[in-house]
C-alpha cells in the first residue's frame, strides 16, 4: 500500500498521513513551549525581588499566557502526537478518520491562538482559572472551547484507530502496555473535557451577556473537574512514555503486565476525583465530600503511582542486569546509558515526579493539611514538579526518540542534546524546591510584589523565604536555558539535521 512505509529500524509499518499528523502536532507543541518558555523567563525575572522586571499588568497577563501556552497548548499538542503514535504506529495500523484529525488540529490551533491573542491584547487578565465574577472577553472562552472540542476529536480519532486495528487484526490479543496507558490518558481526557464543556459554555454565554450570573462556588467545583483532571491526562501519558522510553533505550520489559495494567486501571477509575484538592478549603462542601473524594478511592490512584514507581525502575534494572551489569545494588544504574538524552530525561522525570511532585501532591491533597498549603507558592512548586519535572521532561525524552523514528533525522548537536536533560533537570528541581520552600512560609502564588510596597500594610516577609526567592530565580533561569537547548536541538534537527535513510 502506498499510504504506508516500513520503518527500517523497528520493522513497524508507519501510516504516512498519521506520521504527518504526529509531526505537525509535535512541531506545534514545540512552538508553544518556546512561547511559554519566553514568558517563564520574564516571569522569573519579575519574581526575583532584586530585578522585578515587568510592571504588574504585564506580569499577570504573561502569567495567564504562560499557563495557557504550557499547561494547555504545549502539553496537549504533544499528547495528540503521542495518541497518534501509540495507536497508528505501535499497532501497525492506519489512522482512522484522517480528515477529522486535521479538523481537530485546526480547532486546537485556532482556539489556542484565539485565547493567546485575547490574553496578549489585554482582554483576558484572568489567569488559567478565570474564576467568575472575574470576566474575560468572550472570545477568550470561545478559544478555550474550540481547543477543547479539538482535543475531544483527537481522543475520538484515537479510539477510532483502536477499533480499526482490532477490526483489521493488526495486533493480537491485548493492546501493548504503552497503548493501554495512552488509552487511559484518552479516557481521562474525555471525562475532563466534558467538565470543561459543562462549565466553559455557560461562562462564554455569560461573557456574551446571555446569562446573567455564574455561581462562583459551582464554577470552582466544575472548573476543577476540568483544570485538575486535565493534569491527570499528563500523568497517564507520562507513565506510558516512561514504559516506551525504557523499552526503546534499554529494552526493558514490564516486570508484570497484570500489575502495570492494574495501576493504569486504578488511574482510569479513581484519579479524576483528585480534583477535590482545589476545593478543600472552600465553602459549600461537607467534610464527607472532601474526605471521600480525597480519601480511599483517590488513594487507590496514589497506590497506582506507587506501583509504577517500582515497576518502571525494576524493569530497567532487570534489563540492564541482563546486559551484565550485575554487581552490587547499583552497578546497573552507574552503567546505564546516561549519554542517551532520552534515557536521562526519563530518569529525571521519574525521580522528579515521584520525589517532588507525587509526595507533595498527596501531602497537600490531604483535607486538613491543605489549610497550610492552599494557594501558597507550595502549590505552584508542586505542579511545576509534576507537569514540568515530570511530564515535560518525559516528553522531551520522547522527542529524542521521535526525531529519528518519525522525522527520520539525526539529532543535531548531539553533545548539546546529551546535556540538555541534566541542565533542565537541575534548573527545574532547584526552582520547584525553592518555590515550595518559600511557599511553606505562606508566600502566596500569583503575586507580583511580595514586598507589598503599594499595599495598605507593607508586610515584612520572612527573610529566609526572600533569600529562597533568589535561589528560585537562579533555578528558573537554568531551566529556561535547558528548555532553550531543547527547542534549539529540536528545531536545528528539523532544519539542518541529516536525513536517515
Amino acid at each position: 500500500m502506498e499510504d504506508f512505509r516500513v520503518c527500517p529500524a523497528t520493522g513497524l509499518k508507519v501510516h504516512k498521513p498519521a506520521e504527518l499528523l504526529i509531526k505537525i502536532n509535535a512541531v506545534t507543541a514545540i512552538v508553544f513551549i518556546l512561547i511559554g518558555g519566553l514568558m517563564a523567563l520574564l516571569l522569573a525575572l519579575t519574581k526575583i525581588p532584586a530585578i522585578h522586571l515587568l510592571p504588574s499588568d504585564l506580569f499577570y497577563r504573561f502569567l495567564t499566557l504562560h499557563g495557557i501556552a504550557m499547561l494547555v497548548a504545549w502539553i496537549i499538542f504533544f499528547e495528540a502526537a503521542i495518541l497518534y503514535f501509540t495507536s497508528a504506529v505501535l499497532l501497525n495500523c492506519r489512522l482512522a478518520a484522517v480528515k477529522v484529525a486535521w479538523l481537530a488540529y485546526g480547532l486546537m490551533l485556532g482556539g489556542a491562538l484565539m485565547a493567546a491573542v485575547e490574553i496578549l491584547i489585554g482582554n483576558a487578565d484572568c489567569m488559567f482559572t478565570s474564576y467568575p465574577p472575574l470576566q474575560a472577553h468572550h472570545l477568550y472562552y470561545l478559544g478555550v472551547i474550540l481547543f477543547a472540542v479539538g482535543a475531544i476529536l483527537v481522543c475520538c480519532v484515537f479510539f477510532g484507530t483502536l477499533a480499526v486495528a482490532k477490526h483489521e487484526k493488526t495486533y493480537e490479543g491485548s493492546l501493548p502496555l504503552v497503548t493501554f496507558g495512552a488509552a487511559a490518558a484518552a479516557i481521562i481526557a474525555i471525562v475532563t473535557l466534558a467538565h470543561g464543556a459543562i462549565i466553559f459554555v455557560p461562562t462564554w454565554l455569560w461573557a456574551l451577556g446571555v446569562i446573567q450570573h455564574i455561581d462562583a462556588p459551582a464554577y470552582r467545583l466544575i472548573f476543577w473537574g476540568f483544570g485538575h483532571s486535565s493534569q491527570q491526562i499528563n500523568v497517564c501519558a507520562m507513565v506510558a512514555v516512561w514504559y516506551l522510553i525504557a523499552a526503546v533505550t534499554v529494552g526493558a520489559k514490564p516486570v508484570n503486565q497484570r500489575v502495570c495494567r492494574t495501576a493504569f486501571v486504578l488511574y482510569i477509575l479513581f484519579i479524576d476525583i483528585a480534583s477535590e484538592h482545589h476545593i478543600l478549603v472552600d465553602p459549600g462542601f461537607s467534610a464527607a465530600h472532601k474526605a471521600w473524594n480525597t480519601g480511599y478511592f483517590m488513594h487507590l490512584a496514589v497506590l497506582a503511582s506507587m506501583i509504577h514507581a517500582l515497576a518502571v525502575p525494576s524493569a530497567i534494572e532487570i534489563a540492564l542486569r541482563k546486559k551484565g551489569h550485575t554487581q552490587g545494588y547499583f552497578e546497573w544504574l552507574k552503567k546505564a546509558p546516561w549519554g542517551n538524552p532520552s534515557f536521562s530525561a526519563m530518569v529525571w522525570s521519574i525521580a522528579g515526579f515521584g520525589f517532588l511532585g507525587g509526595i507533595t501532591g498527596v501531602t497537600f491533597g490531604t483535607e486538613q493539611i491543605n489549610i497550610i498549603a492552599h494557594n501558597t507558592w507550595r502549590i505552584t512548586g508542586h505542579f511545576h514538579s509534576t507537569v514540568v519535572a515530570g511530564t515535560t521532561m518525559s516528553f522531551m525524552g520522547l522527542t529524542y526518540i521521535v526525531l529519528p523514528l518519525i522525522f527520520r533525522k539525526e539529532v543535531a548537536f548531539p553533545k548539546l542534546a546529551k546535556f540538555q536533560p541534566h541542565v533542565f533537570g537541575v534548573g527545574i528541581w532547584t526552582m520547584a524546591i525553592f518555590m515550595m520552600f518559600s511557599g511553606s512560609f505562606g508566600m502566596p502564588r500569583r503575586h507580583w510584589d511580595i514586598t507589598f510596597s503599594d499595599a495598605a500594610f507593607s508586610i515584612p516577609f520572612d527573610q529566609t523565604a526572600m533569600m529562597a526567592l533568589h535561589i528560585f530565580g537562579v533555578g528558573a533561569i537554568i531551566a529556561v536555558i535547558g528548555g532553550g537547548m531543547f527547542v534549539l536541538v529540536s528545531v536545528a534537527t528539523l532544519l539542518i539535521g541529516k536525513d536517515i535513510k
Binding site: Y60, Y171, P176, R220, G284, G442, P444, R446, A455
Partner: protein
C-alpha cells in the same frame, strides 16, 4: 516489550515477591493516609469548617458595614478597626482590601464569617500560614480560637484583578 502486545494469558503471570511486598506496604500506607483524615476530624484541632450559608454579596457587605459601625474603635491605614466581643465576627474581601481590621483576644472563641463582596479572594493569615477561600455568594463560618498574641497580616492569595498584590488586611490578637 511494553510497545508490543503481551503474551496471550498475561493475567496468569505470577507477581514476584518484591512487587508483592511493595504493593502491600503501599496499600497499608494508603489506608493510613485515608484513615487519618476522619480521625483528625474527631480528635484533631484544625479542620476545614463545615458551616457555610448562602448570602448575596450586597447583603454580606451590608452586614459587615453594620458590624463595623457597631464595634469600631479606630482606623488604621484608612481601614476601620473593630474590637468585638467573642462570638460572631465578620470580615469581607473586596478589591483590594480586607476589612475591617479585627482586634481579638487570645484564648477566646470566635465565629469568623468570611466572604467576598466581589471577586473570589484567598484568605491567607501571615505569618501563621492559614489559608481559606473567600467566595462571593457564600458565607464561610470558621470557628477559631487565637492562641498566640501578636499582629497577623492577611494576604489575598487568589488573583482578583490588577491590584491583587496590594490586597492586605490585619488581625490583632492581644
Amino acid at each position: 516489550m511494553a510497545i508490543t502486545s503481551p503474551e496471550r494469558l498475561w493475567w496468569k503471570q505470577p507477581v514476584c515477591g518484591q512487587e508483592k511486598l511493595w504493593i502491600s506496604i503501599a496499600l497499608v500506607w494508603c489506608i493510613f493516609i485515608t484513615a487519618i483524615m476522619p480521625y483528625w476530624h474527631f480528635f484533631g484541632k484544625q479542620n476545614p469548617s463545615q458551616e457555610y450559608y448562602r448570602v448575596s454579596p450586597v447583603k454580606y457587605g451590608a452586614i459587615v458595614d453594620k458590624f463595623t459601625a457597631k464595634h469600631k474603635v479606630g482606623e488604621e491605614a484608612g481601614i476601620p478597626v473593630v474590637d468585638p466581643p467573642p462570638g460572631d465576627i465578620f470580615i469581607a474581601g473586596s478589591q483590594f482590601v480586607w476589612h475591617p481590621i479585627l482586634k481579638l483576644k487570645s484564648g477566646r472563641t470566635y465565629r469568623l464569617h468570611l466572604s467576598s463582596t466581589d471577586m473570589v479572594h484567598g484568605f491567607s493569615v501571615y505569618p501563621m500560614n492559614m489559608n481559606f477561600m473567600a467566595v462571593p455568594d457564600m458565607d464561610y463560618v470558621l470557628t477559631i480560637q487565637p492562641d498566640k498574641a501578636g499582629e497577623f497580616f492577611i494576604i489575598c492569595n487568589e488573583f482578583c484583578g490588577g491590584g491583587h498584590h496590594t490586597m492586605t488586611g490585619k488581625i490583632i490578637v492581644s
